[in-house]
């Protein structure tokens, strides 16, 4: 299985648990087509910066709502933020996800806990919360895994908590 296949496989399994597999597969076909047609999705500056307005709490705290299934050093304490890696670290292209409830709007969001890689542990703001965490054989929901995979080094530096959408 090459790397891209592996990632598709991962995404597949990740999603399969949150929606009917049949519906998912139908949609995945479309997504794949879209991805092929869109070789580079622009990174939107407007959504670049950390917590958004409809949030509350301290993003450097383990209790912060997005951190409901995190396991590692908070990148916000390490020179990054909830959605950025510290300078010189490398974003893990794959990650585990959690589903956390935003207390401000009451909605459930899918949070992607991408690791930042290529440097030793940052050593600050370690958090381990396990809402919905699953064993390694369900990797997309397993925060025990070192997700510095597909990066140039598997050294683990810190973890982000990126909002990637609302959960159904």
């Amino acid at each position: 299985m090459n790397r891209f296949d592996a990632i598709v496989d991962k995404v597949t399994r990740k999603i399969a648990r949150r929606s009917s597999r049949r519906r998912f597969l139908a949609r995945l076909g479309g997504a794949l087509a879209a991805a092929t047609a869109l070789p580079v999705l622009p990174v939107r500056r407007s959504h670049g910066a950390g917590p958004q307005t409809a949030e509350e709490g301290d993003p450097l705290s383990c209790d912060y709502w997005r951190h409901c299934a995190i396991d590692g050093f908070l990148c916000g304490c390490c020179g990054g933020s909830v959605n950025s890696c510290p300078p010189g670290s490398e974003i893990s292209p794959v990650s585990w996800i959690g589903t956390c409830t935003n207390p401000v709007d009451g909605r459930d969001y899918v949070i992607s806990y991408n690791d930042c890689c290529g440097k030793s542990g940052c050593g600050r703001c370690f958090c381990n919360t396990n809402e919905g965490d699953r064993p390694v054989y369900m990797p997309a929901k397993s925060n025990d895994i070192n997700w510095c995979l597909g990066t140039s080094s598997n050294a683990y530096h810190c973890s982000t908590a990126v909002v990637i959408g609302t959960a159904r």
């Binding site: 542990g121 919905g132 064993p135 070192n146 995979l149 080094s153 050294a155």
Partner: protein, 401 residues
């Protein structure tokens, strides 16, 4: 209880040490000429030689403490402690991403999966299975393995060894899952076997191992005599990974693997090279206990002894507390399926291990530098061990065969 001793070795076995001794001897000679005997009084202390210790015969009460060295985890360590006398026997430096070690059945050789980069955290990656001589705690050899070993929070089942000691299995994740098979007699990799997305390694005989699958099945990989995959088997789906997943923290009791689910259901899985079958399952917790929030939990909350006892660290954290350190350790009789005893350690415990002899010790690591010790049969507390580290990784008592 078998007594173990450190031999005062006078002969180190490598040239470097010999050369060191030459030079030291020279220094001592030189100094000897300058330090004239004192006139009068009792005889002064004699000049001493320096030497390198060796280990004596291994004991089942030797405890392997895997130290992932959380704040410097490309520089991990393996400590060896004699639990009978709270004595550190020695240490190995073991590269990046420590989980557990494998070793020869007589514990003469340790096999350690290790990850290295040319420049610590960057550059070319090299994964190896390192071979260490136990008597001298010295590096013997290494076998390069596919640079794909899985890593993360420490888990025992990232590697395994065939029951006859011939093969060591190393779990890979890239995130594609596979297992590297190392023939430790020939010191070669015989195969890298894709496990169809099933994870971890649970040896099930001389030529087979199990993996847990996300669809509630177990996969068994069977090897041929050349160490390559011969056949693959799957159980039926026997657990619900969404409703009540099994944790990866299994224990093997008289050859049968015992898995425990998030909500405390024990699943016994009989397995041999001939096949694998989930045999029975039973709950550790009744509804009242579940309602009170009792759950099994902790980084490695499970251990067993072949007398039929299962040891489970329990907390009252309710759902999602499967990694919370245990307030209590429950001793379960797997024959009667009844709780036989409850141990309340001084502080919550993270890792359990039970020695395999007939006067077994239960070791339970605190979140600090203390490892609590108990008589594993009657739960009597013994003097704690002082671990060299804060918050142990996987604990392994030496299991001599």
């Amino acid at each position: 209880m078998r007594a173990t001793r450190i031999t005062e070795a006078t002969r180190a076995n490598d040239a470097a040490t010999k050369s060191a001794r030459h030079i030291l001897a020279f220094c001592i000679t030189t100094l000897g000429l300058l330090v004239s005997p004192l006139a009068g009084a009792a005889e002064p202390l004699k000049p001493e030689a320096i030497y390198v210790q060796r280990l004596g015969a291994p004991s089942p009460h030797w405890l392997i403490l895997n130290d992932p060295n959380f704040l410097g985890n490309m520089d991990s360590k393996i400590y060896l402690i004699d639990a009978d006398r709270n004595h550190m026997l020695g240490m190995l430096s073991a590269g990046g991403w420590r989980n557990a070690v494998e070793y020869s059945p007589d514990f003469s050789t340790i096999y350690s999966p290790e990850t290295y980069y040319d420049r610590g955290t960057r550059g070319r990656r090299t994964d190896v299975l390192s071979f260490y001589d136990v008597a001298t705690l010295s590096f013997l050899d290494e076998v390069k393995i596919p640079p794909k070993r899985g890593s993360g929070a420490t888990l025992r089942a990232y590697s395994g060894r065939s029951d006859d000691g011939r093969y060591v299995y190393v779990f890979n994740m890239t995130p594609a899952m596979s297992v590297s098979v190392v023939d430790v007699a020939q010191r070669i990799v015989t195969a890298e076997i894709s496990t169809d997305g099933c994870a971890m390694v649970y040896p099930s005989g001389n030529r087979s191992f199990l993996s847990l699958c996300g669809n509630g099945r177990i996969r068994q990989t069977v090897l041929g005599d050349n160490g390559e995959v011969l056949t693959t088997r799957f159980t039926d789906s026997f657990f619900d990974p969404n409703q009540d997943p099994l944790t990866e923290k299994a224990t093997r009791l008289s050859g049968d693997w015992h898995f425990v689910s998030f909500h405390g259901v024990v699943h016994k899985v009989a397995a041999s090279d001939a096949g694998v079958s989930p045999e029975q399952s039973w709950p550790l917790l009744d509804q009242q206990q579940l309602d009170a929030g009792w759950r099994p939990g902790g980084p490695h909350f499970l251990a067993s002894h072949d007398s039929g006892l299962l040891y489970v660290a329990m907390n009252r954290g309710g759902p999602d507390s499967h990694k919370k350190p245990g307030e209590q350790i429950w001793i379960i009789d797997t024959v009667s399926k009844k709780r036989q005893q409850v141990i309340t350690p001084p502080t919550p415990v993270t890792q359990l291990a039970v020695s395999s002899d007939d006067r077994p010790l239960l070791a339970a690591a605190s979140e600090g530098p203390e490892i609590y010790l108990f008589d594993a049969l009657d739960g009597t507390p013994k003097d704690s061990l002082s671990a060299p580290i804060l918050g142990a990784g996987v604990l392994q008592f030496v299991d001599l065969r």
